[in-house]
């Protein structure tokens, strides 16, 4: 049996990779992918703790998160497509009309 700490450490690493990815990539969709990655890292941590506490609650929580992720992707991609209709680019930096 592998100790829970290792799983959490792995989740942390995956999470920060996702964060770095989110920041370096300039295409909206790829950023979205990184967000999904971070989300899954969190799921991993949840499941690891569920095993540590011997409680199925966390797992069902992950189950709910999954459906949430699905909804989120649907809307996210919808938005990206809608924006794409306006301006034919998904480069995030170009879309900076909301300036201070």
């Amino acid at each position: 049996m592998v100790e829970t700490q290792y799983y959490i450490a792995l989740a942390a690493i995956l999470f920060s990779i996702g964060a770095v990815g989110f920041l370096t990539r300039r295409s909206a969709i790829q950023m979205f992918l990184c967000v999904e990655l971070m989300l899954n890292a969190a799921n991993l941590a949840l499941v690891a703790f569920s095993r540590a506490w011997g409680d199925l609650l966390a797992q069902s929580a992950v189950f709910i998160i999954l459906t949430l992720a699905a909804a989120e992707v649907a809307i996210g991609l919808g938005i990206i497509v809608a924006i794409f209709k306006k301006r034919p680019t998904t480069n995030v930096d170009v879309l900076s009309s909301l300036k201070g």
Partner: protein, 195 residues
């Protein structure tokens, strides 16, 4: 322990691949790889039903959607210089610091019970056990999630819904009309507005 190490390396490799590939498709595919590795990990964590759901829903449906959209937009490679050149190194440094800190705190974690007794209660994360908790403790979230999905569906449809040809003109004019109507109103005589 060996299995964990292999899976961990695979997952990290997939993650790095997602963020480093230039073209959208390769990064999406590497994300799918990572997801599958995670599904296997769930199995080692006594969450078989979850692993299967992960594979089916996530890797299957969501990533397909992603690939579909990437294909649809087939946006060209990132052209032009990056307006915020300093973001890259700072992000990496930040990521490393974050990972180290989180990992470090992870290792402070003292397991409340020893693993063997804990995993016994999980009954291996079979659909029966998950279903039982879902429909007793998680009944309300379960229902709420179903409504959430419904709204997501409607939202997605309305976002990308392309009006039929004839009210193309209407849409543009009406949008135009409301704009300047508002603008004349305020500038001419605020008094009229209040009175």
């Amino acid at each position: 322990m060996v299995v964990f190490v292999i899976l961990a390396v695979l997952a990290i490799a997939g993650a790095i691949g997602t963020i480093s590939f230039k073209s959208g498709i390769y990064s999406a595919l590497s994300l799918v790889g990572t997801l599958l590795t995670l599904a296997m990990m769930y199995v080692t964590l006594h969450a078989q039903f979850l692993a299967s759901v992960q594979v089916m829903v996530y890797a299957g449906a969501i990533m397909v959607l992603f690939l579909f959209v990437i294909m649809l937009l087939n946006e060209s490679q990132m052209s032009g210089a990056d307006p915020l050149p300093w973001v890259q190194p700072v992000a990496i440094a930040g990521g490393i610091v974050l990972a180290a800190a989180l990992a470090f705190t992870a290792f402070q974690f003292k397991a409340p019970k020893n693993l063997e007794t804990a995993t016994a209660a999980l009954q291996g994360g079979t659909p029966g056990a998950i279903g039982e908790t879902l429909f007793t403790k998680f009944l309300l979230p379960f229902e709420a999630v179903s409504i959430l999905l419904l709204i997501a569906a409607i939202g997605a449809v309305s976002l990308v819904h392309r009006q039929p040809a004839h009210n193309e003109a209407l849409e543009t004019t009406s949008e135009h009309a409301t704009d300047n109507a508002y603008s004349d109103e305020t500038s001419s005589n605020p008094a009229k507005v209040v009175a």
